[in-house]
């Protein structure tokens, strides 16, 4: 388990650069064996946060506890020993160009002082685990991005760490390769029980892989919890903006341009319904039509799945005559569907 206790991290002013409060009041725990996404915009403090876990950076105040060890209080040899139980993978892979895939994976084992024969056996095992057994003698310049990251993952797992830190590990990869690497990480988590901490600015990474999420903004944790809970009920604007990246809360241009604020003589009222939760959106259109006896037009819809929960929105067109819009909104609110009246179309 990784626990942050009252962490703050301040970079002091240096050579004309102003000081920065990178992290403040950080206090949360990452459960053992979980896959936790830490998401934030650039400059939110993600990199500092992850580097506190493996002691590459020291907190200004507070403690970071990893597997019962106060990593922030360790230094020198003790810190280096503790670091062997925390693996890390990087956006730009950071492989040694002078070593083959196998020798790159062997590096942390050499540093830990393993005997040669054990290193050889372990490297073979790791190459197979990450699915590149045939790349044993290849140099990084001969590997694709995805293959390089597989070498990076094997290297990070070499010393059998309990925690694997991923610093934007898929940000330099194309979508297809990203998916394959995320699948590999999910397998590793399932089979080896390694706790995975994913630093990312990409909502798609959190959505595909993480079960827990921590949303960082300007050095503060603004929300944290189960992915499904956080993204079905996002409270903070930054969380909402990340969610919008996936489900897109903007209307199709052809629809948006036609919306007017005054009801036309004979047209439709435009209502947007937020869909949150398992199966929430399945029946709303049918029930609305049946129970209120209305013609309901589906103008636009977008529903996605995050953490097993449906998240998205439906944009409906209903008759604009008389009190119909008001009745529909009342019905929706009574059945706990968050909805808003966007306007009218002719």
């Amino acid at each position: 388990m990784v626990r942050f206790e009252n962490i703050s991290k301040t970079y002091t002013a240096y050579r004309g650069k102003p000081g920065v409060n990178a992290l403040q009041d950080i206090d949360f725990a990452i459960p053992r064996g979980s896959i936790t996404g830490v998401i934030g915009r650039s400059g939110a403090g993600k990199s500092s946060l992850v580097r506190l876990i493996n002691g590459l950076e020291k907190p200004t105040t507070g403690r970071v506890i990893v597997d019962g060890n106060d990593i922030s209080s360790l230094a020198g040899r003790e810190l280096r020993l503790a670091q062997r139980s925390i693996g890390m993978i990087f956006q730009h892979f950071n492989l040694l160009s002078s070593r083959t895939a196998a020798d790159n994976i062997a590096l942390p084992l050499e540093i830990a002082g393993w005997p040669k024969a054990d290193i050889k056996a372990r490297v073979t095992e790791l190459l197979a685990l990450v699915g590149i057994a045939d790349k044993h003698d290849r140099y990084p310049s001969e590997l694709s991005g995805g293959q390089k990251q597989r070498v990076g993952i094997a290297r990070a797992l070499a010393t059998r760490p309990s925690v694997l830190l991923s610093d934007e590990a898929t940000s330099a990869l194309d979508p297809q390769t990203t998916r394959a690497i995320l699948d590999l990480l999910a397998n590793i988590n399932r089979e080896l029980g390694v706790t995975i901490v994913l630093i990312t600015h990409e909502m798609s990474v959190v959505r595909q892989l993480a079960r827990e999420v921590v949303v960082l903004d300007a050095g503060h944790v603004v929300e944290s919890g189960h992915v499904a809970d956080i993204f079905t009920h996002p409270r903070h604007p930054i969380t909402q903006s990340f969610l919008a990246e996936v489900i897109g809360d903007s209307l199709p241009v052809s629809l948006a341009s036609r919306i007017v604020t005054e009801p036309p003589g004979d047209g439709q009222a435009v209502i947007r319904i937020q869909v949150r939760g398992a199966g929430a959106g399945d029946t709303v259109v049918a029930r609305l039509a049946r129970e209120l006896g209305l013609d309901v037009a589906l103008l636009s819809a977008r529903i996605d799945e995050i953490g097993g929960q449906h998240v998205g929105s439906l944009v409906l067109g209903i008759p604009s005559r008389e009190d119909v819009p008001a009745r529909v909104l009342a019905w929706l609110s009574q059945h706990q569907f968050p909805a808003e009246h966007l306007g009218y179309v002719a």
Binding site: Q83, I86, G87, H92, N94, S97, S98, P108, I111, L165
Partner: protein
Amino acid sequence: MSPELINLIVQATFESLYMVGIAALLGTAFGLPLGVFLATSRKGELFAAPIVNRALGIVVNATRSTPFIILVVAIIPFTRLVAGTSIGSTAAIVPLTIASAPFIARLVEAAIREVDGGLIETASSFGASPLQIVFKVLIPEALPGLLLALTLAVVSLLGYSAMVGAVGGGGLGDLGIRYGYQRFMPEMMLAVVVVLIALVQLVQSAGDYLARRVNRRLRHH
């Protein structure tokens, strides 16, 4: 050209190779660690010691800005202390080493600084000690650059070695001055220049070849 003269050229060539070879070895022995330290001891770096770094930097610059011929004369007492004499090829190795070590150090520093800082962070992340980072990451990754730096140093040493004739150091440069210039034997001058050109070509080609062989960065299938 008479056999005696050819013999002189052969002997001078060996003297030059002896001086340059030993000076390059000693210069590297001092220059490599010095260069690695210079590249890793600024504020926030692996062996952070900013004051020592700056002090060494000043010493290195001072040595490098002293004209070689003045360095040779100025350190004669030191040369006598180390080599037992201040005359001859062996004595000449002392100023050649002192001139080449800071030069090599700066070249090594530049080559080491070329190594991606992310690799240092990566090695630190899995618990490598600073010395392990130097020997397992920085030097192997900088090896192509280091070999080219050493090549450049040897070529420069060949040039410097021509000046140690001033203190009786012998070698090709000395031969060229005494026979080619002072005794007005242009064919001797030409022969010396041709041998020097051939040596520089040989050293440079060997250096380029080795640097290419160890460079895995650009290999493709």
